[in-house]
């Protein structure tokens, strides 16, 4: 396989641009620092004030807290119900039939760059090459950049041994902190020549016509649509209960919530893979934020702030769902941490944000990006309170729930739980011929897992904000014939810096 070599001076220039480009140009939008000084003061003051009230009048303090959270719950629930209702507006989903996709002559297709960050993915290199080779796109109009950390000898040697088509090309990314996927992507972006740029993960199995579909969709959309996002699903759904729930969760996101958000022209947190960008738009945005652990979600928000649109592409990429409990918790804690990071970063200057996004945009952003991890953190507290209520009926609970809040809370409890279980049941129809319907009924256990991850994410955000929880791939027996090797890499993942 080809490998891009360049003088060390050039490599370090590109590295510097990938690492600090965004932070140097627009420090306000980089997660190099999570909380601004003002925010830190604000949070300290808020906690201080709460503590003072708590000491002066515990009942009042708890009542204020409970009321605030209950209102938040009600908003989040009504919002999700509304997203479901809106998701029927199919005009936000770009549908290009197989015939249409194949009909476009090769010389009318744009030059395409596919970027695949592969860090410690030696076990699945063969698999990766096969899946990407299956893409139906003229190879003289395609470059596939495999972004490999320079010192990841194992992956590098696996790649160099394989001999795929001429479109493949290995890019060694100089070893330097932060070792994150967005930094590797930025490095790739400095070299990308394609008019359109797609990102895939190493274990992805994209729909072979996806690039053609995306290219056609982009040619029909105006330049302010900077990105089309393909749908994601899992190829190892049946492996265990975690992968089944994960599949249901994705089905709900891509079938209901994402189209709902898009139809309301809300800011959309992108997924980490199978998004197709106009290269120039991406560059003008400064690429990904290498310090943000959900750089994909953050990029979606930054696009919205700059006035770019995101559309959804009817085309599915199959990924490997995280099947291991510990591994899942790590991945999810990173997502929650990233959402929190993203929320705080964009909230540094709320008025500026309102100027750029409008009130509606900020409301969407707050409920979806800020609300999701915060509610996952609050859920266990309120589950415990509910159980306590039914079991012991303690008097202090009555005193901290003023009547209107009590009724709102009851609504959130009864309707909210029902709605989310029901939406999961409905999602089960979107995948696997509805086999997962019984699993859908037990989704509350999955919510419990989410809350565990949310606490881990919160803790990490405070302690190590830029630490990237690497998700191990190749845990699926069919993907990784050498299980020992796979479990080795899980061990390696734990000892990451």
């Amino acid at each position: 396989m080809r490998r891009v070599l360049m003088p060390p001076a050039e490599a370090s220039l590109r590295l510097e641009a990938s690492t600090n480009g965004l932070a140097d140009r627009v420090p306000g939008l980089s997660a190099r620092r999570v909380l601004s000084f003002g925010q830190l003061i604000g949070i300290v003051l808020l906690f201080g004030l709460f503590f003072v009230v708590l000491v002066a009048s515990p009942v009042l303090a708890v009542t204020i807290f409970v009321s605030f959270v209950t209102v938040l719950y009600v908003i989040a629930i009504v919002y999700r119900a509304y997203l479901y209702l809106r998701s029927t507006r199919s005009h936000v989903v770009e549908k290009i039939s197989d015939e249409e996709a194949r009909a476009v002559p090769e010389d009318e297709l744009p030059f395409y760059t596919v970027m695949i960050p592969a860090y410690r993915e030696a076990a699945i290199i063969q698999h990766l090459v096969e899946n990407i080779s299956r893409i139906d796109y003229p190879i003289d109009r395609l470059e596939v950049l495999l972004l490999v950390e320079e010192d990841d000898a194992e992956t590098m040697s696996q790649l160099m041994q394989s001999d795929p088509g001429p479109q493949f090309c290995v890019i060694p990314v100089p070893a330097a902190e932060p070792r994150t996927k967005p930094k590797a992507l930025n490095y790739g972006l400095t070299l990308a020549r394609g008019e359109l740029v797609a990102v895939f993960d190493a274990e992805d199995e994209p729909d072979p016509l996806q690039l053609r579909r995306a290219a056609i969709a982009m040619s029909r959309l105006t330049l302010d649509t900077a990105c089309v996002q393909a749908k994601l699903s899992y190829n190892n759904t049946g492996q265990n209960i975690i992968t089944k729930w994960f599949t249901l969760e994705y089905a709900m996101w891509f079938s209901y919530f994402l189209p709902g958000l898009a139809s309301m022209e809300a800011p959309i947190p992108l997924g980490g893979t199978s998004n197709h960008f106009r290269r120039e738009a991406l560059r003008s945005l400064g690429g990904w934020d290498p310090y943000n652990v959900t750089e994909d979600a953050d990029l979606g928000i930054r696009m919205f702030r700059e006035g770019f649109n995101v559309r959804i592409l009817e085309s599915t990429t199959y990924e490997e769902a995280n099947s291991d409990f510990v591994n899942w918790i790590k991945q999810r804690s990173r997502w929650f941490k990233g959402y929190l990071q993203t929320f705080f970063i964009h909230m540094r200057h709320p008025l500026e944000l309102v100027d750029e996004m409008g009130w509606k945009g900020v409301a969407h952003f707050t409920v979806f990006v800020g609300g999701t991890p915060i509610l996952a953190i609050l859920n266990p507290i309120f589950w415990l309170l509910t159980i306590l209520w039914f079991v012991a009926h303690p008097h202090f609970l009555i005193s901290v729930f003023p009547a209107p809040i009590y009724y709102l809370g009851l609504f959130a409890f009864a309707f909210g739980n029902f709605l989310l279980v029901y939406l999961t049941v409905l999602s089960s129809r979107e995948v696997k011929n509805g086999q997962l319907i019984l699993n859908a009924l037990f989704i509350p256990i999955y919510w419990l897992m989410m809350s565990m991850a949310a606490y881990k994410g919160l803790w990490q955000m405070i302690v190590t904000p830029a630490f990237w929880e690497k998700t191990m791939h190749g845990l699926h027996p069919n993907d990784a014939p050498n299980l020992e090797q796979a479990s080795d890499s899980v061990g390696a993942g734990r000892t990451e810096p």
């Binding site: 998701s87 029909r220 105006t222 029901y422 409905l426 089960s428 129809r429 011929n433 509805g434 319907i437």
Partner: protein
Amino acid sequence: VTLTETRPEEYPTGAVPAMGDPYPARQSSFGQRWGRRIRSEGGIVIIVSFVAYFIVAMLLDFKYHVFPLDGVSRMANAYYVLYSRDPHLAAIGFVWNPLPSIATMPFLLFKDLWAPLTTLGVAASLVTVISMTGAVYQLLRCLGDWGVPRLPRLLLTALFALNPMIIFYAGNGMSEALYLFTLIATCRYLLRWIRDGDVRSLSYAAVWLGLAYLARNEAAAAALFAGIVVFVISYRKKAQPSPTRAAFSDLSIFALPFAACFLGWAFASDVITGQPFAQFSSQYGNSAQIAVNGAKVDLTYRLLHELKSVTYMAPALLLIVVLVLMAASAGQLDKRVWGMVAVLGGSLSFSLITYLDDKIFPWFRFYILLIPIEVLLVGAMVAGLVAAREKARAVAEAEGGGATELGASHLGAGFLITCALAVLVLIGPSIPLTAAGMFNPIVGQEETTELGFIFHDHLTAQDKSTEQDYAGWTTIGRYFSSRHLPNGDVVVDTFSGCVPAVYTTVPNPKIFVITNDRDFQRVVADPLTFGVHYMLVPKPTGLGSLEALNKAYPTLYAGGAGFTKLVHQFPAKGECPPFRLYRVFTHPTEVG
């Protein structure tokens, strides 16, 4: 003249908006969108029905003071939750399904701004006005989805909306309007699902059905029959890989919201009252009421009574059913009609069967579902004719090779007028006959009682009594308003007669200890210990014998049961039975 609208599902496949238009459905401004909605057919129907029903409601409330007590009770249940001396959610009570009460709550919050909301039951009336408007709109959309052209569609909707039973129940504060609204909406989305197979349509139908159950129990029967239809239709689609699994999956999606409402309500009822189905089994429930008040008539009488009621409500029903069956056997009928029959007919069958079994009263209002049933059956036949005609036309064109403009009307004016006349002949007679049924003292027992005094030239004794209803409870209400009693001074069971109406009339309802207060049983057992000095008790005849004070102290009404002395007597007036107010002077136990 274009009398048909183009229906999205009839666009030929592949007719996507032209290339080069990057935003085919770019959203217009908020104002433009609402302007269009209001001027659309549906918007106009909503506005006209709402205004008309609102006028009816205001006349019934302010001019005639017609408040059917079931409606007042449901509003009072919400009132207890918010404004009783012990405000708590469980005070909503479990004898009636909760949605009609819950729906009045937002209006009750404004009672201090506009007293008639409670004193004249306007809150309950507003709920029925809105609900019936919703029912009319859902029916219109249902016919539209079906493909009924505009002229017959508007005519059918008007014949529904103008039926005197519909008009009366659109303004009187009862639960029928809300039930019709939720059930017709269920129908509409179920029919849509049968057509498009989209799981979203099925989920909307399912949620509306759950709400329908929270309005009235009969929805359980609708759920049963509709569930069967969902299963069969889904199974017959022969989905791969397993039709059985697909059918069970569809059935679960359809049944889940209903099951959640059903079990949730039963669970709440069980936790609070100890009876999961208080609406049937409680001291005050249907069974108890029938046992006390049911007239003893035999099965033949009940059967004939049902036939009579059906004939008054939908005189051409038999003819319509025969025509529908003929159309079905000729393959001219859309299979969606069975979804409608399952939902509305299923619910109606519950009332029919339980009355034959002598478990409920044969109220004329139970047959109100026949009105949407006949309208939708006739609508289905019109839709069948339209489909056949369009098909024939398409075949002729394919042979002739002529191209037609997309969405242009294929239907001649003659055809549409014929349809309209058929609709008039089949459903038109319902309007005068239903009115006749309402004023037939055997068929329309309740309606005659409630409305007779407005329409009769010579008032009967009953009419005169109804006219006194409002006077009855305001008399009692005024007595208590003028006494300036402290909170929690008078114990009374809200079950009897006009007590809920008294309760919502007085400015200081907190003086009453009522059935739904958590200390009610203890107070009844020993009023004085709880600082309660008065007991208000109705005459223990008929339903009055089910009343809690009479059950606890059978001799209270007649002679004070030894621990109280008579303070005041209220004579019977309208729906109010004779009441006596006793002052408690000692503990009942000390009397032995």
